[in-house]
């Protein structure tokens, strides 16, 4: 047993840290500091810089242009990225769609789509959920009917993350109405510029937009855009969702949020002293930091031996704990801000986006973005499979109940 980072891993961390320091443009860092959803331009610019280094797709196998890092090193890389306030690289294309494409897609499909993802030029959305079928994919109703060399797509998707920024959508559709619900599902790649598609942004409680409803009305999709085999969409979706769960439980992001929280607590004053010296605040912070350490080591246990099925069991736990922890950190940061934590901060009415240079917010610089984050984090225990679903999964698969 050697439960700490090896010397090689420590050197790797220094290499990554130096690269980011040398290559991350200042204006990107500044905008990411506020932690609103990063804009597409920033994500694309940074992805291209990383791509030149061969680092834009840490999770991909070497043959498709991944760096071939161990699970632990992927984690270190992500941690250093968050730590430096680098914009996140888009996730849907690189981490969800691409693995399906290089695992199940045709050679032509790989050649056509993977390079754009790797370089940050092409952005993807996923079209899974439908109104009335949240976590219950088998009941989806959007249909694709074969019509010569094309499919004709009709239906509606919802909770489509970043759909309003995307070029393409990975769509689950029903291609066979006759067979059992799970067998009639296929996966299609659809150009979002196709006629008949309407994207309607859904405003969330932070007054921002990250998710959308997408309507499909007689949308024509070339048959060559079918992923793998017709009727196998359910298998691909399960594969994709597994990848979604075995991520890092957002620990690097949470650790960065804690650093930000510490910064706030050092600047805010309570009873004439820095909030950081308030015993009750310190106790809450310590509890959060300890829970984060525990979560981090649970993640590292998974990553140190990614193919051990026992470790896969732990992965379902870290989703639950990680999502709850993100809420607690965001709420404590908001509480730390005092009155300013109650203020809505929008640059233009009803949407936070890039903040104008001359914007004079009613909260201190160190509090920008905090209240929106505290609100939006309510979603972390819902998306990606609500925690209720995760707990049932844990009870069945790990506890055998």
């Amino acid at each position: 047993m050697q439960p700490s980072f090896s010397d090689g891993d420590k050197e790797f961390r220094q290499t990554v840290r130096a690269f980011i320091a040398d290559n991350l443009p200042d204006d990107l860092r500044r905008r990411a500091r506020w932690d609103y959803h990063p804009n597409r331009e920033d994500q694309a610019r940074w992805c291209a810089i990383l791509d030149k280094q061969g680092w834009s797709m840490p999770h991909w196998p070497r043959e498709f242009g991944g760096p071939g890092w161990s699970g632990i090193r992927k984690y270190i890389f992500e941690e250093e990225m968050r730590r430096a306030y680098a914009p996140t690289v888009d996730r849907i294309g690189p981490e969800l769609v691409a693995p399906v494409l290089y695992t199940f897609g045709s050679e032509a499909m790989k050649a056509r789509f993977l390079p754009g993802i790797r370089s940050g030029e092409t952005f993807w959305a996923q079209g899974f959920s439908e109104p009335g079928a949240g976590s219950d994919l088998a009941s989806l109703r959007t249909r694709a009917d074969r019509d010569g060399d094309e499919y004709l797509v009709n239906g509606q998707k919802t909770w489509t993350t970043e759909g309003h920024h995307a070029d393409w959508i990975f769509l689950l559709v029903r291609t066979d109405q006759e067979v059992k619900p799970q067998q009639g599902i296929s996966a299609l790649l659809v150009d979002l510029k196709s006629p008949g598609i309407t994207m309607r942004p859904i405003r969330t409680l932070d007054e921002g937009v990250t998710v959308n409803e997408v309507f499909f009305e007689d949308v024509r999709v070339p048959a060559e855009n079918l992923v793998g085999e017709e009727g196998a969409g359910w298998t691909y979706a399960k594969f994709l969702l597994t990848n979604e769960r075995t991520n890092s439980a957002e620990v690097p992001h949470t650790k960065r949020d804690i650093a930000q929280l510490r910064d706030i607590a050092a600047r805010e004053v309570k009873n004439g002293r820095p909030l950081m010296e308030d015993p009750e605040f310190r106790r809450k912070l310590a509890r959060i930091e300890i829970d984060t350490l525990a979560l981090e080591f649970a993640v590292l246990r998974v990553l140190s031996n990614e193919h051990d099925p026992e470790n896969a069991n732990i992965a379902s736990l870290v989703k639950v704990r990680g999502s709850e922890l993100r809420q607690r950190v965001a709420e404590l940061a908001d509480e730390a801000l005092g009155d300013a934590g109650l203020a809505v901060l929008t640059s233009k009415e009803g949407e936070h986006g890039p903040i104008a240079e001359d914007f004079d917010p009613p909260v201190p610089e160190h509090g920008i973005g905090i209240s929106a984050k505290a609100m939006f984090r309510r979603a972390t225990t819902i998306y990606g499979g609500a925690n209720e679903i995760q707990r049932t999964l844990i009870a069945r698969t790990v506890l055998g109940l």
């Binding site: 949240g134 409680l205 809505v344 505290a374």
Partner: protein, 381 residues
Amino acid sequence: MIFELTPEQQAIADSVRRFTEREYDWDSRMRAIRGSEGRDPAHWAVFAELGWLGAGLPEEAGGFGGSAIENAVIAQELGKALVNEPFAVHVAAINLLASSPHAAIAEMIEPVMMGETRIAAAMHEAGARGDFRMIATRFDRNGDGFTISGAKSLVEGAASADLILVPAMGDGGLAVFAIPARANGVALRPYRLLDNSHVCDVTLDEVAVAGDALVAMGDEGELAFARAVDEALIALCAGALGTMEAALWATRDYLLTRTQFRVPLANFQVLQHRMADMLIEVEMTRSLLFHALGAAQAAMADGGIASVDASARAAAVSALKAQTGHAGLHVGREAIQMHGGIGVTEELAISHHYRRLFVINRLLGDEAVHLERFAKAVDGE
């Protein structure tokens, strides 16, 4: 002990509910909160017309013969419909006016009750993090009048107020002043809170007022301020109770109608038990509201003068606020979680319930402030 409303109190509740059903449905509300200041001025006129603005004031103070109970009844119904009007602030303001020994101040009560004069109360001090007991704003005597300097935050309704009531410390202890909102030296910085209420930071830079702007000072000032805080907190918590009830029952209805894996969500035992826990929190809040109303009645029976009753009221009100903050966050979060994705959208009331409860937890002291105030009041410190 009688926990039922009198027929008169029930009539007030009914009149508020008629208003919220007929004039404050969801679409009207969304229109109102997207307007300037998040309100439709016609609504406040209705409040005045139906007598709600004086319902909680004893007759001898110029009101309609009620008490904190009437205010709680009104606030609870407003809270159910998420009515975005500064009713709790009004309660603070009118109680401050009614506590004043000065005739010039008492004369303001009627126009305020009639909705003719708009009045805000600056109960939060900038930098005090919701602890209303920490007052750094200063006053100095200036001939027959006073000069006031300081910074207040989260002053709801200040942008449309004629007068702002301002507590300040100085020679003579705690004093409260009625300051014209457009007086020289008064600067307002408006912004919006997460629950769509519109507030201002109010900066007072050597604001000069005449002697008749004094509401109360010294022991009278302390008593007036304590009464206003406690009465406003009761109204605030009663509103939160209404909001919690709305979130609870909306969630119940959602669980009954929504199916997942072809089973109604209502059948999932985990959700049943969590709903039971939400209900317990709601009922415990309601119980503490009753308890606080009893304490407020007892304190008012002594004209708010007996410090033992004022201290019992402080304990009871802080118990209520600590529970309300705690319960509100719990109920709000669970309501969102059980709704799933739809719960975090701007389009559904559920996220608005949560945001309102989130804000209320922090207004006039969060759970920690009130646990400490409760402990002090109980131990007679």
